[in-house]
Amino acid sequence: MTDPQLAELSRTLFWPWTFLLYAGGMAAYFYRMAFTQVARDPGDRSLMGTWVGRLGTVLIAAGLATHLGSLVTRAVAAGGREPWGNMYEYSSVLGFGVVVMALLLVQWRMRRPELVGFLLLGALVMMGSAIVLYTPAGPLMPALQTHWMKIHVSTMAISSMIFIVAFVFTGLYLIRDLAESRLARLQDARQSGSTVGAAYAPPGTVTEESGDAVVADREDELPERDGTAADAPPPGDLSDDPRAYGKALRQAVNPIPVALSAAAIALAFSFLFRSATASIVAPLVVGGGVFLAWALLPSLPSAATLDSLAYRTIAFAFPILTFGVITGAIWAEQSWGRYWGWDPKETGAFLTWIAYAGYLHARATRGLRGRGAAGIGILAFLILMFTYFAVNLWITGLHSYAGSGADASNPPFVGIGGALLLYAIVKVVSRRSGGDRVLPAD
């Protein structure tokens, strides 16, 4: 086969085949979850023990096969180079990595198949951006022809795909935590004032994974979470009936404002694509994802579990990101004769690094862990996406070759995006200043 035919095959394998297989697998997972009204014990494989669950796994595995085929044919068609030389390829690789992690790590190793559907959603959004940013196969420009390209870009890709996974965990944590804390408050309000505190963890109780002690600031809003009971519903009226607890969790949250605000952020972000399709699809998908997470609240892991999953995922990716930034500096020294020049991409990487470092520090700070830290985690991911999409598409810098030729400058949308980011920062900061620390009415 000639190269153009191979490239065309690669493109077809990617869209529609891989895309549809993943989407089908995701639908199967969500379908199966919709009938699981109870959070599972870790290690319980019942979710996959049905034909729909198995079908989902098979579809995803088949999707991975076609995706791998697409990446390999693309690499060959582009002259035998690594398939992450432009945004189309990079987005595709990110999606591939997320799905691999979803299947191998999250489902098989961690035994959390209930999270796989949401991870697939994340992967599909990333791959959707690849479809929008399609670039014909071709060789790399001279600046990219070096081993540093393989090392630096693949390191960045690996850390980014782990951050996508962490972002899904963080988002799910925020929704579940919102539901859990509201429900706990509702239950408190129902009970007499004198029992306040009865259902809460004693000082020094250790949360499941993070192991950090529950500190005093959180005691007034969190139900008990200790190592052995992290996946069990908190004690109280509903603890005997997990089904009723799940239902109550859903009733505690109004999904519409939550989904709308998430969709608004996605809308602001999708303008960076300068594509009407993206601006319609992205908010719908993100808002829909939030809505789905709400609908499937009962079968999600507990907030404490999700929080520590997110923390561990970010703690895993952070050294990789650090290594990526350092190799980038070394490459810049090789290529341009300076290790750091505050080029927009470098600045973006620096910002991302700072934001995730901030997340890790916030986790160790009283009054910021929990939702405050999660807010910083979300913000860090938005910065990562900003660094990836925005810097490539509308800021001209030395890294511009990574772009797809979309023309630049979109000031009003920059304003909207900036305003939303600012809003998110203010929100995070004001949250920790005590606004959210609602004490039970006495």
């Binding site: 002690a213 290529s335 916030a362 160790a364 900036g418």
Partner: protein, 579 residues
Amino acid sequence: MPQPDRPVRQRPSAIPGPLETASLFWRWLRRMRTALYLLGGLGAATLLATVVPQEPNVPETVENWLEGTEGPGPTISRFLETVGAFDVYGSPWFTAIVVLLFTSLTACLIPRIRAFVRTWRYGQPPRARSFSAKPKRAYLTTSQDPDEARAAAREVLSGRRFRLRREEDAAEESTPMRADARGVVVPAPADAGDTTDGAGGGDQGVGAVGRSGAGVGARRPQVAAEKGHLLREGGSLAFHLAFYVILIGVVLGQLLVFRGQIGVVEGESFADTPVSYWANASGRWWQEEWHRDWVLTLDSFEVEWTETGMPVSFISHVTVEFPDGRPERVADLRVNDPLVVDDMKIHQLDWGWAVRMVVTEDDEVVYDRHVVLTANDDGYWEGAVKAPAADPQLGLDLVFFATAPDDEDGRPVPTVWPAPDAPLLLFHAYEGDLDMDRVQGVNDLETAGMERLTTTGLRPGFEVEVRPGTTVSFSELSRWSGFQVSQRPTDPVLLVGSVLIIAALFPALYAYRRRVWVEAERDPATGVTRVTLAGHAFQRPQAFDGEFDAIVAALSERLAAEPSPDPDVPADRPEVVQR
């Protein structure tokens, strides 16, 4: 946006004096939240620098913003200029953020380092007051006596590189170890200064058996052990200290750096001397006599394109000669593959076309030079010829197309195709005053005092008469290669700092602090010894689960012990049997 200081709030009526203010400021700097605000400030500054064009990088864009032809308009641009937004990294407030951040880091690290050293030297794992509050517990029965059981536990734990509490401390209640009282149940938070209250120390391998508790309360002999704290805290400290290494490297680099740019036409040379560079920037401590005076000749420059017009390779073939008689060096310079000459790095940075222009006036050559052409955004090349020796002075405004094939009528059609398939040079010719006394760009022709003679085009090897007696010939097409020559002796410092950052991140994130306690007691009724183990991990409890089980198994094997149920828990809730 900093929070109001808590100490101030506590004493609302008192107006703090200067010393108190300094101490309050210091305490404010020590807070983790302050550090996070400063990090956020640094992030916001760099974000600003991403969105607003930066003068040192793209001065033309900044000029366009100020003129209002680009960006948000002149009013906002003037405001941005006032606050230094066009040169964020050179602005005083950016320096202030960095200085504050490092001051805050120092303020956080000093007490942590002191506590770390104290723990390292004197620290003792605290006793457990109550085993039932620990998340991990295990119970064994053995026929060996309690002293032997504890000795075995100490051996098992020290074999696993736990730090053990000194055995005589078991009886010394008065030893001022704060962690004894509070560190047990409520683990110290990771905030600076609080982490290391006497925890984690203990000399290994001292003694074996504890004494029964005389003194305050009934102190049973207990084995207390801890692991992972020094590694985790040490990793965290090393990670943060690495930033001082980076800072030193960056600051020294700024002072000692030399960077110069030069373009060399094929067949020509340049020498590493202070005056030969097109542009150079050097640090305050760079000495001009540090130039090495070697001479670089560009023998040829190769560039290849794909069928789609994308460049695939740039290679400069160069020869370097040394004034001190060392043998010359022949080398190929590629993007990503710099040449190192006497500690100076030469990077392939840029390239372009050079046209050799000859101006003859009445058979006398008044101008013969390679004109270096620079790329224009629209895919063609620009340059200028200034011939002050001509009379009257002659100026040419050049535009070059690498490919401009003739159409059917024989008229050249310019394209943006990069390869030189049908080179065409177009120019306006002017005569008059070149105004050479004024400083002007090499490729900018000042035509205010000049009169246009003609506009014409030339293929390579052709000549044209622009006015009676004066001919312009395009005698040769060649290429020039742009090099950056740089020397930054501090790069190894940065590399060391980076390696330290990475190396320290792993223990800082993944090492985990855990404690294990063992008690052994003979049951007077049955005569067997009951051994109780308790464990607690401050981080990563799952990783500790397996480790605790392994410790229990190892101890059990040494004592030939049997597992036994938790005496404090009714038999129908066997949750204490650990997984």
